[in-house]
């Protein structure tokens, strides 16, 4: 009997979900899942559900390919998607997104480069240097040149096997100033990588893998996303990071073309990037607010701010990734990186 009534309830629920009245007040948000999406739920989605009196359903995605598949098949399920910065630039060039309405979305406090016609940043993450403190103490490598210096810092290294980030890092290690990276000189980057190749114990393929390498002491120095390093350190691993010469990357929000609730999605995005909700993020996960005014809301103490990657004091030490460059060059440079790794 219990089963039958559950079954009946399920039918009633599914009927209710298809009623037009419910559809108007429900939007679907897709992101990368895990701790990140759980933090987004608490920091952004929960307050927005109350403020707009709507329901936000969640889904997970693997990247821009998922959005492309929905748009090309004319079967758009998502109203807001969270993507990596390069994916946003790419999807924008392919025309996969609805334009954003900046009469609804306010961008005070947001870097102009991070708010474009059809995508807007939502958080900053940084690729930083992390090191094993058991091996080097607190004075680990402070620059990418140090990362490359195997005499000063003997030990194993790990870098991403993807071209983006790794090419920027290789150029900085070779002496290219942070603000003169683009357009990247691929030949020079690969020559620089060849010098460190024998010390790279593993070229990581995922954030989880980079964290494991750092945590298990498999790699003594790792080029890693600050969120992953933060989780490992909180977990008790003997490691530290520096924001020096870090590379800012973002996750961004888009409305997939053909979304049935685009107008409501605009309002939700406006709230997601507002200083007040942005200020909720750092307490939940090691990512920085995209909106610098979040640091003026009083929700983030000055002491907490010193640890946050996008806090003004840390932001000054880092550089922005150029997403348009990667949009135009990712395939070509990925093939070159692959050939390099296969040698």
């Amino acid at each position: 009997m219990g089963m039958i009534s559950t079954f009946r309830a399920a039918i009633l629920l599914s009927v209710a979900a298809t009623l037009p009245a419910a559809a108007q007040t429900t939007i679907t948000f897709a992101s990368y899942g895990g701790a990140y999406q759980a933090a987004q739920r608490k920091a952004l989605l929960d307050p927005i559900e109350k403020m707009l009196n709507i329901t936000i359903k969640e889904d997970t995605l693997g990247g821009v390919a998922d959005v492309r598949a929905q748009v090309k098949a004319n079967a758009v399920k998502w109203d807001i998607a969270d993507l990596g910065g390069a994916s946003c630039a790419r999807g924008s060039a392919e025309g996969l997104f609805e334009p954003l309405d900046y009469s609804v979305i306010k961008t005070d406090g947001i870097d102009k480069a991070m708010a474009t016609k059809d995508w807007i940043g939502v958080i900053y993450y940084s690729t930083v240097i992390a090191w094993n403190t058991q091996k080097y103490g607190q004075n680990g490598p402070q620059t990418w040149a140090d990362f490359w210096d195997t005499k000063k810092f003997p030990g194993t290294r790990s870098l991403s096997r993807g071209a983006s980030e790794t090419f920027e890092i290789a150029l900085m290690a070779d002496g290219v100033p942070m603000d003169k990276l683009y357009p990247l000189d691929a030949d020079r980057a690969l020559k620089s990588l060849a010098r460190i190749k024998n010390n790279v114990v593993s070229w990581w393929a995922s954030g989880a893998q980079s964290a494991q390498l750092l945590k298990d002491g498999e790699a003594d120095i790792v080029a890693i996303w600050n969120g992953r390093a933060g989780a490992v350190i909180k977990d008790g691993a003997k490691a530290a990071i520096t924001y020096n010469q870090g590379i800012f990357n973002i996750d961004c929000l888009v409305i997939p073309k053909g979304s049935k609730n685009a107008a409501l999605a605009q309002k939700a995005i406006a709230l997601m990037v507002s200083p007040d909700l942005q200020a909720n993020i750092p307490a939940l996960i090691d990512y920085g607010p995209i909106n610098a005014k979040a640091f003026d809301t009083g929700k983030i103490t000055p002491e907490a701010a010193t640890k946050i990657n996008s806090a003004p004091v840390n932001a000054a030490k880092q550089t922005n990734m150029n997403f348009d460059f990667w949009r135009d060059n990712l395939t070509k440079l990925t093939e070159r990186m692959d050939a390099f790794l296969q040698q």
């Binding site: 194993t156 114990v201 393929a205 395939t331 692959d338 050939a339 790794l341 296969q342």
Partner: protein
């Protein structure tokens, strides 16, 4: 069935035969329909995607495989890995199947369970377990260093070696199971006959037992080799970026290219190569014999 029915009830027999054929066709048609829909249609679509893009017919996706140096070496890596893992599976798996086939039923079923236990464990879990065992501060290196066998940790993982070990562990059951089924069905009297006629144990094995076990061995080998060609998770986690297989490249091309063509062309080539391997094998070991478990 093949004899022509004659005599008084010939018409009745023919009608029965027809009914039987229709019933068989009816029973198998769902399978053929499913195969058609789930295999041939997608493969055809894959091929279509790889030669047509927004501008029309293009061979760019295939040209890339020839001109970009990474692809040739990815194909080479995939095949080297598959051949090596298959060969090692045979070397390690054959004695295991042989031993189990000669054990009394109770002991045999315990041993088979031991072979199957890793088979029931999630692939990702086993892959991570190998990482724990093989890495620099892993179990193997710690023990060897404690015993003073080595001073510096051996590089056992994040390379071709680690990938081979991880894949081998996964693939051995795929060899042992068909081989064991085959060996179980081998009539022990053949072996006794050879011995009674004066053959040494070695000669009995090489000239009688081994040939009788070839069908099972061939079935297992093909299965292991073909599955190896499509490996993704193990080389991804244990290869340290130094081992790229075709499947990894397919995934990467889906993520980095604008269209599906770059990935689907790789899928098409992998599919064609796999068919070619099957064809080559069926020339060496006719498929009819593979299904005749137990020998001639």
């Amino acid at each position: 069935m093949s004899e022509v029915a004659t005599g008084l009830n010939a018409a009745g027999i023919r009608a029965d035969a027809r009914r039987e054929r229709n019933a068989l066709a009816g029973l198998t048609s769902p399978t053929f329909l499913v195969l058609g829909l789930l295999l041939f249609l997608p493969v055809g679509w894959l091929f279509w995607l790889s030669v047509f893009d927004d501008t029309g017919l293009t061979l760019e996706n295939y040209r890339r495989m020839v001109v970009e140096p990474a692809y040739i070496s990815i194909f080479r890596t995939t095949f080297e890995l598959s051949v090596l893992v298959t060969a090692l599976s045979v070397v390690l798996g054959y004695p295991v199947a042989y031993m189990i086939a000669f054990l009394p039923p109770r002991a045999a079923s315990i041993c088979l369970t031991l072979v199957l236990v890793p088979f029931w464990t999630a692939l990702l879990v086993r892959t991570y377990a190998w990482l724990v065992i093989l890495q620099r501060r892993g179990v193997v290196n710690s023990v060897l260093m404690d015993w003073g066998v080595i001073d510096e940790p051996l590089q056992l993982v994040h390379n071709f070696t680690g990938t081979t070990i991880g894949m081998l562990h996964i693939m051995i059951p795929f060899l042992v199971l068909p081989l064991y089924a085959n060996m179980r069905a081998i009539d022990r009297d053949y072996v006794r006959a050879a011995a009674s006629l004066g053959a040494s144990p070695t000669a009995t094995f090489w000239r009688v037992y081994l040939p009788l076990s070839v069908p099972g061995l061939a079935a297992g080998t093909v299965m292991v080799f073909v599955i190896c060609l499509g490996f993704y998770i193990t080389p991804q986690f244990l290869g340290g970026g130094r081992v790229t297989t075709i499947s990894m490249k397919i995934q990467q091309n889906i993520a980095t290219y604008f269209d599906w063509g770059a990935a689907s062309s790789l899928g098409v080539v992998l599919f064609v190569v796999t068919l070619a391997v099957f064809w080559g094998f069926s020339r060496l070991f006719p498929l009819r014999r593979l299904t005749e478990v137990g020998g001639p």
